[in-house]
């Protein structure tokens, strides 16, 4: 990666200036960047002299080292930049424009190597940055981290504060084109599925400046886990999910567009597969089957309050009263799925993009999963929930009574069991819903098998595996008993700590992620 950034494009060029732009985070500190640079500078092709390298730390008021041919100073500056990691959200894009400005005054070849594993998603005027790179003939090279597939993290947290002039977006694509926030799912696959590509914004800059993006993945970060929370029903955390290992050729066919965002949205809106997805997405949103809103020109994607409210109705109140609501939702889900299937049948495969097609088929799978979950929910409401508080329930050891407490204070909760092993194993265990559920599970299994045949070794199979079959239970509104806050004997009372500048993004560090080995991309 360093070789590509430092290498001369034209061996006869008089000079080459490269800025190392370091976004120092804990995950970047463990990449061994100084050692790699030191080893590279030992090679004659990369001797400093006509080649000058400067170091800038993102967020610092002044550059650490202006372009220099002093090897010791360069390595010291790089180590100093990495020595004090800063986990707050940083605006990379204004810093890149500033470095372009500095490079503009220099003769010869110009390049920037941006090392940033965390902050590609805090966007600040991408197109202005593209113009600046082009105007100063600067190539941008990036050491970045793999983004999530159509990442909806910030869309789900639209209250989060971004640095000045920045918008928090992220994801491999310019828009969130994968429906997110499905009914009866814990978490969205959009926040858990490695895309095989870098952040859209950085990829766009790299493509426009004819540079290159390198994805960093810690060697130890490839462990597969069927469930993010809880344990898998069908293995002992030892599953070999061979279909989740990405293949480069398949990824390339499903690559997102790196055109400007407005163009991406236009392309998407005119794709027949995307149109079919959009129709189904809007209908599902209306029915409360999905809570994330579809992309719209000039708008950020967000969580739709009405859709969320409809979903919440199913987890409030008494289970027996919710059966009718769930039956209505199920009917609507069936109708939307059937309409989507008909739309997909009519499309000439060569007229749409492979990515839009994958997403449309994923959407059909998710509607099917939602149908199964609604049937399971109805079964639970009718067969199990009424008996859970029944004192006279006939329970034989080693089983114990499911619940003890006041049913009036209970609401409905759920957990999900991953589809990592497919839908078939769910047929072997005891679930409420009877023959209706078994029939729906068998149909879902068939659909998943067809989907896996086409999309194995791509992020779309991983996304489907990160969704699950819901298991319902009653939850009680707990009474919180607070421990009295200790008071200091002298000085000020220990107040609550002020919030961290960046909202917690558990499991999102590229150095500690648990996603599958993607096989690169970008």
């Amino acid at each position: 990666m360093l070789e590509r950034a430092l290498a001369w494009e034209d061996p006869n060029a008089e000079a080459r200036t490269v800025w190392l732009c370091i976004d120092a985070t804990a995950s970047l500190s463990s990449t061994g960047l100084p050692e790699a640079l030191s080893a590279l500078l030992d090679q004659p092709n990369f001797a400093l002299g006509k080649l000058k390298v400067g170091v800038h730390k993102v967020g610092a008021k002044q550059v650490l080292l202006p372009p220099s041919e002093d090897r010791t100073a360069l390595l010291e500056a790089l180590r100093a930049a990495l020595a004090q990691p800063d986990e707050s959200i940083q605006d990379l894009y204004s810093e890149l424009r500033m470095l372009c400005q500095l490079l503009g005054a220099r003769a010869g070849e110009r390049a920037i190597l941006l090392a940033s594993l965390e902050n590609g998603d805090a966007e600040n005027d991408i197109e202005a940055t593209v113009q600046k790179l082009k105007a100063t003939k600067t190539r941008l090279f990036v050491l970045g981290s793999e983004s999530y597939l159509a990442d909806s993290y910030w869309a789900e947290r639209s209250y989060s504060e971004a640095p000045r002039d920045c918008e928090l977006r992220g994801g491999d694509n310019a828009i969130i084109d994968l429906p997110f926030g499905w009914l009866f799912q814990i978490g969205s696959p959009n926040e858990a599925t490695p895309s095989g590509f870098g952040d859209y914004a950085l990829s766009r800059l790299v493509a426009a400046s004819e540079g290159k993006l390198f994805l960093y993945q810690a060697a130890s970060s490839a462990a597969h886990q069927c469930m993010t929370l809880g344990s898998c029903l069908f293995c002992s955390n030892d599953h070999i999910a061979s279909k989740e290992y990405y293949r480069r050729a398949l990824l390339e066919a499903l690559a997102p567009s790196l055109a400007p965002r407005t163009q991406v949205l236009e392309q998407w809106a005119s794709d027949p597969y995307a149109k079919a997805t959009l129709t189904a997405w809007r209908a599902a949103l209306q029915a409360g089957l999905v809570r994330g809103s579809p992309p719209r020109a000039g708008h950020l994607t967000f969580v739709d309050g009405n859709a969320q409210g409809k979903a919440n109705l199913l987890t409030d109140g008494k289970p027996d009263r919710n059966v009718a609501r769930a039956e209505t939702a199920l009917k609507e889900c069936k109708r939307i799925l059937s309409a989507l299937e008909k739309d997909l049948e009519r499309i000439d495969a060569s007229s749409g993009s492979p990515r839009a097609r994958a997403i449309a088929e994923f959407c059909a799978c998710m509607l099917d999963v939602t149908q199964v979950n609604l049937i399971g929910y109805i079964g639970w409401c009718e067969e199990l929930a009424p008996r859970w508080f029944d004192d006279a329930a006939n329970v034989l050891p080693p089983e114990i009574r499911p619940l003890e407490g006041d049913p009036k204070r209970a609401s409905i909760g759920f957990s999900t069991r991953s589809l990592c092993h497919g839908a078939r194993p769910f047929l072997a265990i005891e679930l409420p819903g009877g023959a209706r559920l078994r029939e729906a599970l068998s149909a879902l299994d068939q659909r998943i098998q067809r989907f896996e045949e086409r999309y194995a070794h791509t992020p779309y199979v991983v996304a489907l595996h990160r969704q699950g079959i819901a298991i319902f239970h009653q939850v009680f509104n707990s009474r919180l008993v607070e421990r009295p806050r200790p008071r200091s004997k002298s000085g000020e009372e220990n107040g609550p700590s002020s919030g961290t500048p960046r909202p917690g993004r558990a499991g999102r560090s590229s150095a500690s992620g648990t996603g599958p080995t993607s096989g690169g991309g970008g």
Binding site: S30, E35, I429, E430, L431
Partner: protein
């Protein structure tokens, strides 16, 4: 035989009746007696025992104080809190530090100063430190961290230093690396602590000292790998020369060490190391063979299906079970019939067959596990009991289970087992019908 068993049961019953006698056994010279009393107290948690332990532990041998700490922590917080508070100022450093650390974990940060005072006590020996340091494992507190970072600079006991550094694998702290570098600059530092310090740097992603670490590991041999396994597993990358050394150890060491090496290879092996893993799949020791297969599956994401199917039909039941288990992990149930067959047969492999069987969440597995609860062989009954405890909540995700609600115990008397088995069969028959 029956008489001696009866006497044993009688004496254990008497001990439950007399907590004082049971508590005193915690401080006996015999390790076995101490452990038996410890396990019984842990299991029964008699309410009267804790005040007795609290009063007597400060005068006990240090090994017994360790047990006392574990037992006190296992009681509900409202019962253990007064005891921990009193111990946090006790004379024995281990009790004071252990109780102080537990109080910090429970959120009583006002006890931190007392804990720091304990750590500053003059005359704390290296042996004291090696027992005290594990009590802080994973505990995050700024002042305690400062004290422990300082300890890195002076700790002489290699085990205590290693435990300290392991603590800082979990608790990330920027000032540790300078302290580690400062310690490494001491010319007279022996090999073992030097390995720990260098391994810590590797675990933090600093590969600049790998050329110092490798010769020390080579000189020290395979045991250095097992002692520093956590550091290797925490590393973000494994430099090629180190990986080659680990692969060599996997091929040339005894079973236990080879398994440690294979856990590292499972995490970092590259295409170059796959040949080693493939060779080790045929290792004569089944545990090494299984670990190699595991590593191979993790690194390649695929199973060598044809070879596993051959093993499945082969003459060695242990290997057939391992093959069936490996296939199951890749969602392939081809081995289920063979596992069922082996789980039915009374043989040396029956217990392992039941363990493998319990991971197949199917109705037949449940029925076979229940049948095996009646086996004559205790190891088979234990495997069936454990397997069933794991199987039932998976097969019935909407039901809650408490194994203590049945009278069945694999170690119990024939009558007790028979009555428990009747209950479990009744449950199974009624639940299966729904």
């Amino acid at each position: 035989m029956i008489r001696s068993l009866a006497l044993c049961c009688l004496s254990l019953w008497a001990l439950v009746q007399d907590p004082q006698a049971l508590v005193e056994r915690l401080n006996e010279e015999s390790v076995q007696a101490r452990n038996e009393a410890y396990l019984q107290l842990l299991r029964e948690k008699p309410r009267d025992a804790l005040p007795l332990i609290e009063a007597q532990a400060p005068n006990w041998r240090v090994e017994a104080q360790e047990l006392a700490l574990y037992i006190a922590q296992s009681y509900p917080t409202d019962q253990s809190l007064p005891c921990l508070k009193r111990w946090s100022t006790a004379k024995p450093a281990l009790l004071a530090a252990g109780a102080g650390a537990q109080l910090l974990r429970l959120g009583y940060s006002e006890n931190e100063q007392e804990l720091l005072k304990t750590l500053r006590r003059p005359g704390l020996s290296a042996a004291d430190w090696s027992r005290i340091v594990p009590k802080f494992y994973g505990l995050r507190s700024a002042e305690l961290t400062r004290a422990l970072v300082e300890r890195i600079r002076i700790e002489t006991d290699p085990n205590a230093l290693r435990t300290l550094l392991e603590h800082f694998l979990v608790v990330e702290e920027a000032s540790v690396q300078p302290a580690v570098q400062a310690r490494l600059s001491q010319a007279q530092l022996p090999a073992e602590p030097r390995i720990s310090l260098l391994a810590y740097l590797l675990a933090r992603g600093d590969e600049s000292r790998v050329q110092d670490l490798l010769p020390l590991l080579q000189a020290e041999g395979a045991s250095a790998l097992t002692r520093h396994l956590r550091f290797f597993q925490a590393a973000p990358r494994m430099p090629e020369p180190l990986l080659a050394w680990v692969a060599k150890i996997a091929e040339s060491s005894a079973s236990y060490v080879a398994q440690s090496a294979l856990t590292v290879l499972a995490q970092f092996a590259t295409a170059k190391d796959l040949a080693v893993l493939e060779r080790l799949v045929d290792h004569k020791d089944i545990t090494v063979s299984k670990a190699a297969l595991d590593a191979l599956l993790k690194r390649t994401g695929t199973v060598p299906r044809e070879s596993l199917l051959r093993t499945l039909q082969g003459p060695d039941p242990a290997r057939a079970l391992a093959a069936a288990d490996a296939l199951r992990r890749a969602d392939d149930d081809s081995g289920y019939a063979r596992v069922c067959e082996l789980a039915r047969q009374s043989s040396a492999q029956q217990a392992e067959a039941l363990r493998v069987l319990s991971r197949f969440v199917r109705e037949d597995s449940g029925a076979l596990l229940i049948e095996a609860l009646a086996a004559e062989d205790l190891a088979v009954r234990r495997a069936a009991e454990q397997g069933l405890r794991e199987f039932l909540p998976k097969y019935f995700p909407y039901r809650r289970f408490d194994w203590t609600s049945t009278s069945y115990r694999a170690e119990g008397s024939r009558e007790q087992r028979a009555s428990g088995l009747t209950q479990i069969r009744a449950f199974w028959d009624s639940a299966r019908k729904r």
